[in-house]
Amino acid sequence: MKNLKSLLKYAFLVVFAVGIIACDNDDSDSDSTPTISYLEHLTNMSENVIVKTYEDLSGKGAALFNEAKNFQNNKSAATLDQVKQAWRSARQPWEQSEGFLYGPVDTKGIDPAIDSWPVNVVDMDALLADTVNHPTITEAVVDAQVDEAKGFHLIEYLLWGIDGNKQVADFSDRELEYLVAACENLKNKTNTLHISWATNEENYVANFTNFGVSYEYSAEKNALEDIVTGMIAIADEVGNGKIEAPLNGEDGSGVDPSQEESRFSHNSKIDFSNNMKSIANIYNGKYYNDGKGISDVIASENATLDATFRQEIIDAIDAIDAIPGTFTDAIQNNRSVVEDAQEKVRTVQATLESEIKPLISSL
């Protein structure tokens, strides 16, 4: 009796001790230094820059559709000019959104649906001619086409023509149908893009303000890294693609005007400038409102770097804006000014890659 009791007491102590030591699965954090929160920065950039840019794009996409319908119903030089202006106007927030080409704009295939290049002119002409299968060209008909027969550049081609000087009389009723349908399709896509991010709709913003298993990023820093990588991507695209290919050809063998993407409307310079403004907007956390952005993160770690980089973006924008005349003309007749702009864009990319991104990664 006595032996059993003490045996059990002994056993209980063993169990108790082992229970504390052996099965302890507590994974304590390796250090408990509190990290700085960048929630304010991320909230501002996602809500006040990204969502607002997409909101503008959606609104201007709708305005472009209205102007297209107006032109269709009241063909005149004035209404043609209005729809062209509406195209340029819608182009601006789109190009200013290319500094953040992640999330639904890519995963939902919206970018290729609204900004594919080159235009598939043969298919476009074939659809225009096909009154048998499509007595009317509706938005649904356009939506079913390849990406290269819809979107900004298709609309641009219809509005300006291959030489950029299409006249009111040159517009057939059929072309107007295609124009209106393509503008409606673009309006729908830009609306889809906006609501995918809007906080009161599909709220992709939540991935920049919440972190962990149910969201895209496990920590704030990872979201900041993607934001910076997005800036690198557009700087690279502008400097080494959009400027380089027309300036020096795809294979570097010499100037190639056919490679200019917004050639028909002569909007390329403005496009490039807006691309760099996209970097500025997200970096500075400023679109309509001025709030916290990457700039504030950098400034708190290295004020000199922040000041330098902010100036580099301004210099790149100014250099692009300083290209005289059209980009089409400048790549032939003012190459050194174009090359200077390209250099300044490449400087922005280099600073992002070699200094800004590593600093963010080290947070």
């Binding site: 056993a11 390849v146 027969a149």
Partner: protein, 462 residues
């Protein structure tokens, strides 16, 4: 008196120190963490966000980096109907208009909600027998691949249709998952297909790390075979020996869901040819040549040059592999234990060392962790396409590399896996495993929910 007390306490301690492990191999940590983190050796990049898959290997020579960037631009080029100033030559018959459309951000395509929209999905086709090189026997009037799009005014070869059959799978803990087995049919074919035509669904896989896989010495893969299951472990990996049109000999197949292509060059040229209708010096005659809905002119000029083909090939050879993440996380370590206990590494071989590619030192002599033996395995009747491809029979598929799969949702906004995206997440992909993998699948199904979560966390970390 003292002895039984001591014995009893030893027994108690022994029982308790097993805790809740029902595994034979408890491990405190994953071995070789530093090496494994560099999943692509020196081609590894520390990216885990949206841009994880489309970076050049950081160790490229200046010359190769320049060619990689040229290839990058070509990979994104959109083709249009000829004649055109830029990128002419699309079609007549095609599935999509650019490489990137089916390999978005160098990741994998999601299964389309509308199967006849422009997507990364298509069906391969053949009739019984073999072609002159031992490969799939093409269907007269259709070839070896079905295109569901054509340039405006031409009729596509076919339209696709899919219906689903529910396959309920139970776990030991009583919970259930319903797998959806696709059944593919065709309609609106421009001419009738023969009744014995065999269809095989395919979807665009990721393109990073391919140069490393290409450079694993063939002999190192051949030695992993066990065609007759001599070691009696129910695993019988087999290399696919496939036609190489460059050397005009048989080589080990490495790329494509049934390992039907011997090299990235052949895979890329084949994709240009079959997916977009773009001819190259390697495949200079249109796939739809001679079809009433195809190209009936013999052009002298290939639509892309050898230079462009080489640039795109090098691009696909030199994309960085994203580093493994959180290998020291407790759940991930536990998941790794279970991965080994389930014997997944019998086919998803963890580690290789690449040989030499004299043109690309960056991918040469690298220790890599792709988690594939690159061999064919019978995966059971539910996954079978019933369409042979060289030595691959109707039940066999190539072991897929697992590196980077955890970043799929981040990059591509979906988690559709396997050869036609039928698995809607990693767990479903595991549950589809049958045939040689049946026992491993059963092991997984018998795990507790917590163990299954740990298992998945491990797979997401590599």
């Amino acid at each position: 008196m003292k002895f039984p007390k001591l014995l009893l306490s030893v027994l108690i301690i022994a029982t308790l120190s097993n805790c809740d492990n029902d595994t034979d191999n408890p491990i405190p940590s994953i071995p070789d963490i530093e090496l494994r983190t560099m999943a692509g050796g020196n081609t590894t990049i520390f990216e885990s966000g949206f841009f994880s898959f489309d970076n050049p290997a950081p160790n490229l020579s200046a010359e190769n980096l320049e060619m990689h960037l040229d290839g990058d631009a070509q990979f994104e080029a959109a083709f249009v109907t000829a004649p055109a100033e830029i990128n002419p030559g699309l079609g007549v018959q095609f599935n999509n208009t650019s490489c990137i459309a089916c390999h978005p951000k160098d990741g994998r395509a999601g299964f389309p909600s509308d199967i006849n929209s422009f997507s990364g999905f298509f069906l391969r086709v053949s009739i019984p027998g073999e072609n002159e090189n031992g490969g799939p026997n093409p269907v007269p009037g259709f070839g070896g691949q079905l295109q569901n799009h054509a340039i405006y005014g031409k009729q596509p070869e076919v339209q696709f249709n899919v219906t689903y059959e529910n396959i309920p799978i139970s776990f030991k803990d009583g919970s259930e998952v319903i797998l959806k087995k696709p059944h593919y049919t065709l309609y609106d074919s421009y001419i009738p297909l023969p009744a014995n035509a065999m269809l095989s669904p395919r979807i665009g896989p990721p393109v990073y790390g391919l140069g490393l896989l290409e450079t694993i010495p063939a002999e190192d893969l051949l030695v992993l075979q066990d065609i007759d299951d001599i070691d009696n472990d129910e695993i019988s990996g087999k290399a696919n020996m496939v036609w190489d049109p460059i050397s005009e000999t048989k080589k080990i197949g490495r790329f494509g869901w049934k390992a039907g292509a011997p090299s990235i060059l052949v895979q890329s040229a084949g994709a240009y040819h079959g997916d977009m209708g773009i001819t190259s010096p390697l495949f200079p005659i249109e796939a739809d040549y001679g079809q009433t809905n195809g190209d009936n002119s013999l052009n002298n000029e290939p639509e892309i040059s050898q230079e462009i083909l080489d640039q795109v090939t090098l691009y696909c050879q030199t994309l960085a592999v994203p580093a493994a993440r959180s290998l020291d996380d407790e759940s991930v370590v536990r998941g790794y234990e279970l991965f080994l206990d389930a014997k997944c590494n019998s086919c998803h071989v963890e580690k290789h060392t690449t040989g030499t590619n004299s043109s690309i030192p960056a991918i040469s002599n690298q220790i890599i962790y792709p988690f594939t033996d690159m061999l064919l395995h019978d995966m059971g009747d539910n996954l079978a396409d019933n369409r042979p491809e060289f030595l691959a029979d109707g039940n066999e598929w190539q072991t897929r590399p697992l590196w980077g799969i955890g970043l799929t949702n981040k990059v591509n906004g979906h988690t559709d896996f396997l050869h036609d995206g039928r698995a809607k997440n990693i767990e479903e992909a595991i549950l589809w495993h049958g045939g040689e993998a049946k026992k491993s699948q059963e092991f997984y199904r018998n795990l507790s929910k917590k163990d299954r979560e740990d298992f998945i966390n491990f797979l997401k970390s590599i």
